[in-house]
Point group: C2
Chain length 223, copies 2
């Protein structure tokens, strides 16, 4: 369809040389966002880091959305699925879910896009799904519950990724404290003995609840 990863430079001449391609654009976008954040990510700035006019990008990309979708698919490769095939299925899921959440907590603006992005055109994402599906199937999870289980865990992960970016004082009731005594007490009564961030203990709680509900019959590939 569009471009290719290889493409060895032939000479040192100015133009030609496959200046723009899906992989180069994606890499530049990732680098730009890593240093400047999503606020500073514009088609102009992206073109600037690629030493190219903004309009040149549109010879390879149909919209900014598409760049973000490429980026999202690439970011998905950072999710750790190494547990599947080498750990009990639930440990593999834990490793997967935590790293999944961490990655998208760092890329929260991408979260609303995932829901819209079909797996076609997102090969890396599909690869991840396949790995997880194989892991669950291997654990004896019935076929018809694999997708609901994945979707439920994934939804929880996305919501938690957004939550991880919440300011620490988000539940400070301030002057409205006396109109919400029970909630205020609950906020103050959180267990702060362990050093874990509140978002992490909530994620831990929810993840274990979801894993406990997955009907697996076997412990995993080699546990």
């Amino acid at each position: 369809m569009t471009a290719d990863a290889s493409a060895a430079p032939r000479r040192a001449g100015r133009p030609l040389e496959m200046v723009l391609s899906r992989t180069r654009i994606t890499a530049a976008a990732l680098a730009l966002i890593t240093t400047e954040g999503y606020g500073g990510f514009t088609m102009s700035s992206l073109a600037r880091t690629l030493k190219v006019a903004p309009s040149a990008l549109y010879n390879h990309v149909s919209s900014k959305q598409e760049v973000l979708q490429w980026l999202e698919d690439h970011v998905m490769t950072m999710v750790d699925v190494s547990g599947f095939g080498s750990e009990p299925w639930d440990d593999a899921m834990r490793r997967w879910a935590w790293s999944y959440r961490d990655v998208f907590a760092r890329h929260s603006p991408l979260v609303p896009l995932v829901a819209v992005l079909p797996v076609t055109g997102a090969p890396e994402t599909l690869k991840m799904y396949e790995t997880v599906a194989v892991g669950l199937a291997g654990a004896g999870v019935p076929v018809e519950t694999i997708i609901p289980a994945i979707v439920a865990v994934e939804s929880f992960i996305f919501g938690s990724a957004l939550d991880a970016n919440a300011p620490a004082d988000i539940f400070d009731t301030g002057e409205l404290a006396d109109s919400s005594p029970t909630f205020t007490a609950a906020v103050l009564g959180q267990d702060r003995s362990t050093g874990e961030r509140p978002a992490d203990v909530a994620f831990q709680f929810g993840l274990e609840a979801l894993l406990a509900a997955v009907p697996a019959t076997r412990p995993g590939p080699d546990a």
Copy 2:
């Protein structure tokens, strides 16, 4: 801080009359978004429906974000918390969670904002939290687990609200089907006998899992 709900008109004269206020702006924003969707929601269009110049809005609002935050707090009043105090705690939670998801599925662009919005300045949201917290406390849930439980369920709800807007064919693997046989089989093997939408069965699955993990000692206020 800003404006007030009452404010009775005095005459039919052109100006004066409390043209703009938090409640009127919020109501207009909701009406506009209901008819035009979030894509058509701009400060200009909002001003137009209020028969006012766009810049006039900035005498009452510091940014578009703030309008959206007002809107979000208002939307929260549409969430059904009527179960708390009249049903067993878990039924109340079910009613709450489902309506919560439905409301924000219809207002998914607001989801990324909730994570950032402190409860101060969002009194309706705080009211909802208080009701839920009272319900959980009344069910004997230990104080220190109330917040993690709420946050976990809420994160799951937000993720599911995004997921509910996914296109039906999001998991169509298309031409990449043979590179992901297990996942493709799982997609095809979903239980389609019941008429439920896939997003709904995933939500059902996840919600029950989370509720089962909430350590309640009493059934509820009057069950």
